[in-house]
Amino acid sequence: MSTKIVVKNREITYAEAISEALMQVMEKDEDVFVMGLGVTDYKGIFGTTVDLYKRFGSERVIETPASENALTGIAVGAAAFGKRPVFIHARNDFMFLALDQMINNASKWKYMYGGKSKVPFVVRGIVGKGWGQGPTHSQSLQSVFLHFPGLYVAMPSTPYDAKGILTYMLSSDVPSVMIEHRTLYNNKGVVPEELFDIEPGRARLLSKGKDITIVATSLMVQEAYKAYLALEKMGIELEVIDPRFLNPLDEDTIIRSVEKTGRLIVADTSWIRCGFSSEISSLVAEKAFKSLKAPIKRIGVVDCPSPVSKSLEDDFYPTYKTIFLESCKLLNKKPDLELIKDPIIDSFTGPY
């Protein structure tokens, strides 16, 4: 479903974009339904299911017991028998309980049944950050889902992408995971009023530059862009790429960019060890080796569980300043610290 997009000047938040995608698709397709812990409570998954519950009630917005394991299997069964469930987890961390069903069943189902049955379901998981979320409420599981064949995985960084990607997943027959960052929820952006989708395998280029390619996911996309703006003042050009869909991945855009710049930074929301950033690094080392002028740099969180204390959280999470400094290092240029002297002000002001 590729339509010509007419973008009117209407701005809505990331959360509103998600709610709108679900609302518009659920109006059209009566097989789509939502399930999860807290989907019908007054918070409605940070506002993304409140309107759905008002409109569709408990027949299609199903509050579930605390049984993520079986419930994911229930979603698999419902999907295999013609429905299109959307399972929502208020935190990625709870998805660990769902892994048996997501990976042993959903991702392999179509393959195991020789194409005779499929699991067209969508799992949404939110990433917590800051505010003392701590080790078990702030993880980001994209690397886990990417490792096993059979699942589509996306991490939208803008309201536009959130609506487009979710809309695509809701009509796709491939079991899909959408990982949403809580910190992006209040960000506003232009989003078409009509339904539209974003097909996988098409990365978004935020800036063109000749010096360094940076592939960034989710929250790190806005950090990469801030770094790009600061580095511009030093005459350093960053080419910022947001893959959006991590699987299927738009390899071409990334490879072509590195063939131009010769340098790569990958900035991800999770740990670098065995992470998405390591995957992109290997891919580029394999496919664009001759173009590389410098070693590839992976940026992620520090190699420890997420701390609770604010001062340690500040040490734990990379920001545009991290990207700025690493970029200067890559080019052997002395960083102009004036450009990154402002204190970091969290764009997300809560409440959680």
């Binding site: 049984s67 394991n69 229930i74 069964g77 999907a79 295999a80 028998f81 194409g115």
Partner: protein, 205 residues
């Protein structure tokens, strides 16, 4: 036990689509130890879903007897205590299975909700493979042979002959039919080619 919730999901789809279908899931005595089983029961009861859980209790989880895995109480008793409609029967009595399953299935179809059947039975041969394994220490030849005496097919045959529903000639005919079907399946398997390499990547997505 991975399929137990999937059956509940199928039942959920029937319920949402207002179809009068029911889902039946077969599980072993060890599957009730998985958290996902009780989670499935909880949800099926909550939503009154048309699903029948059939537990084939053959006493063994691979090679470990149930007495090492569960507290000393009946599976059926514990599930009944949870509040689920439950029955426990001789799983090797085909007619009894037919009778009780029939009742629970029609109850589920008419909206009475989920139910559980514990069927006592036994595995004659090894966990995987065609041989007997009573040379291994986990069970005795005597135990295996005592259960073979209670074979459901043997008992059903005795009943059908006694009631003159079947004659010995009928029994022979049935056996021949079955053997033909098995032979045909074996021939098909032996004569089929191995899948070609291009099949490896089919249906991944």
């Amino acid at each position: 036990g991975g399929m137990i919730p999937v059956a509940v999901g199928a039942a959920l789809s029937y319920s949402m689509n207002k179809q009068s279908r029911i889902a039946v899931v077969f599980l072993g005595d060890a599957a009730v130890e998985e958290g996902a089983f009780l989670e499935s029961v909880n949800f099926a009861m909550l939503k009154k879903l048309p699903v029948l859980f059939v537990c084939e209790n053959n006493l063994f989880s691979t090679h470990t007897h149930i007495k090492y895995r569960q507290p000393e109480s009946s599976v059926y008793g514990r599930i009944k205590g949870f509040g689920l409609i439950s029955e426990a029967i001789d799983g090797n009595d085909s007619l009894k299975v037919y009778e009780i399953a029939g009742k629970l299935i029609s109850d589920a179809r008419s909206g009475k909700g989920p139910a559980f059947m514990e069927c006592f039975t036994y595995r004659h041969r090894e966990h995987v493979g065609p041989d007997f394994d009573y040379q291994n220490p986990y069970r005795t030849k005597e135990e295996v042979e005592s259960w073979i005496q209670k074979c459901p097919i043997k008992r059903l045959q005795e009943y059908l002959l006694k009631e003159n529903i079947f004659s010995l000639k009928n029994v022979d005919e049935e056996k021949q039919k079955i053997n033909k079907e098995i032979d045909a399946a074996m021939d098909f398997a032996h004569n089929s080619k191995w899948p070609s390499s291009d099949e490896l990547l089919k249906y991944v997505y």
